[in-house]
Amino acid sequence: MTTASIQNGKLPVKTVHKRRNGGRAGLAKLVITMLVLLYVLVSLVTLGIGAADVSITQMAMDWLFSGNGEAISPRDKLILFEIRLPRLFLGTLIGAALAVSGAVLQSLFRNPLADPGIIGVSAGASLGAVATIVLGGTFLGSFVTVLGVFSLPVMAFFGALMITILLHRIATRDGKTSIVTMLLAGIALQAFVMAITGILIFMADDQQLRDLTFWGLGSLAGATWSKIGASGLIILVSFCTLPLLANALNALSFGEASAFHMGVDVQRIKTIAVCATAAATGAAVAVSGGIGFVGIVVPHLLRLAIGPDNRYLLPASALLGAVLLICADAVARVIVAPAELPIGIITALIGAPFFLWLLLKRRGLLLS
């Protein structure tokens, strides 16, 4: 066999292929469009759901036909604009932040099991938040005065950042992240951080305990426009890095060396990704307490549907995360109305079995 015949055999006349990349990319765009529509639908429906009976369609009709807002009763107006709408915004921001943070961390750690709640990032954020509440009157006082409404999210950000950096340092060696090390280190760090949080809670006085309980239940109930302003700003700024990250995170799924070969400044991308997820998770935890499993369920479902390409996965995760959290919040406020269930309970009820199913499916992967 001569090499010439090999070449003739192997490099045949070019055949024209129908362009296939449309396959999954086209599907991804379709899914994103559907998610946008779903989000709008869910928003409108949940605005009408709650302890008080406020009909959105009735209000919209009144507004349309009267030409101004006067036909709407002040009570309905108050419920809509001061309670339900802030809650919707907050649910959107937090759901998107948690789901996107999960997706980014999973790409960064090259591991579909990474989730801010599971590996201790949320616990780090909690520590920051609890420290602000408990120590705000003492040596963190001037800090709280300077940052005002931003102090809680900023401290939560530093807590989350600390855990993410530590975790990455511990679990990564020679550019490879060990799954087992990461999960175990996450558990250890989480236990440690929760112990410190426990000490702080032990130190807290009665008023602080009330604040802590209110905050720690994991709820969107405290939604106010000023809270949304502070956390929303942080979350939106961290989202601004995503277009920059998407392609680089794709390349990182081949390993850090290959990503570098393809022109990715790996160290810089890692720094940005770690800071962005810590900021988003921190801001989310600061307003709503620990809401688990959104970060793992949402990206995983979407990867099954549209594949792992982060250019589509990240925006789709933001949308589905928002939809999921808004729905969970609607359930939380209806199921035991007029009381409310903490939303963390709902997400854990859905998320924990899902996570177990994921583990069962991936048992082989954990051992490797």
Partner: protein, 263 residues
């Protein structure tokens, strides 16, 4: 042109390359051979820009350590010995990442045409929709090669000659694909690009390399034309095996059979 001068590389506390001064030219396939642990992969990683080093490595006249990841990505593609992909990408998605990488990633239309062509070259036409994880080891390796080819598709772009750095590209391939992939790298060099490849198969090295660098314990044992470097004496010194290099008289082709070993 790649020129290393007094190149020293340490991995941890262990010194792996000692005062290495070698060079590779565009238009040629340069094969790096040597026993396991002789520093072949370390040399390839160093010229790829992955490692810290002492001394100098000039790639197209620029010091590698002072060149940005983006510019390096434009000038050279690297095929590692083994690549694990952590999420279930399709073949097409893997290859398209090569086409989009570097500072001037290929435009979409050109990119998709070139992706098809690259998959053809590595014998995987029609595999675009397949999931990367469902492929065999050899097929995965060829998908990665297609990705690298897309990254440095034109062997010469403007004034810049581009490079393929291959770490044992044919180690996991069957003989048909061993030959076609080596043929491919030879064609890349003939069109003005440069190829630096780590090889274990001495016969393929004879067939396709224009230049051979033989490493032993992080030092250059010999370098030059294949028939000058792969000799009975050098093989004995490098691999501690008494092998006999033979020649097909009329074709001027050299070969080494494992069977020729004297124990």
């Amino acid at each position: 042109m790649i020129v290393t001068k007094n190149l020293n590389v340490k991995l941890g506390h262990k010194s792996v390359l000692h005062d290495l001064s070698v060079s590779a030219k565009t238009g040629e396939v340069t094969a790096v051979i040597g026993p396991n642990g002789s520093g072949k992969s370390t040399l390839l990683k160093a010229i790829s820009g992955e490692l810290n080093y002492d001394g100098s490595i000039l790639l197209n006249g620029q010091e590698v350590s002072a060149t940005s990841a983006q510019v390096l990505a434009f000038e050279r593609g690297v095929l590692p010995q083994h690549t694990t992909v952590s999420f279930p990408f399709t073949v097409d998605e893997v290859v398209s990442m090569g086409a989009r990488s570097g500072p001037f990633g290929l435009a979409r239309e050109a990119g998709s045409r070139i992706q098809d062509e690259a998959l053809h070259h590595v014998g995987l036409a029609g595999f675009a929709e397949r999931s990367y994880h469902e492929l065999s080891g050899g097929e995965q390796q060829r998908v990665q090669l297609a990705r690298v080819l897309c990254q440095v598709w034109k062997p010469v772009d403007g004034e810049v000659s581009r490079w393929l750095f291959l770490d044992e590209p044919v180690a996991s391939l069957d003989i048909q694909h061993q030959l076609s992939i080596m043929q491919l790298s030879r064609a890349y060099a003939s069109s003005g690009g440069g190829v630096v490849t780590i090889m274990h198969d001495l016969n393929l090295t004879f067939m396709y390399a224009n230049k051979v660098i033989l490493l032993k314990d992080g030092r250059v044992l010999a370098s030059g034309l294949p028939e000058e470097v792969i000799t009975d004496e050098n093989l004995l010194e490098a691999f501690e095996c008494r092998l006999k290099v033979s020649q097909i008289p009329e074709k001027n082709n050299h070969f080494v059979l494992s069977q020729s070993v004297e124990m």
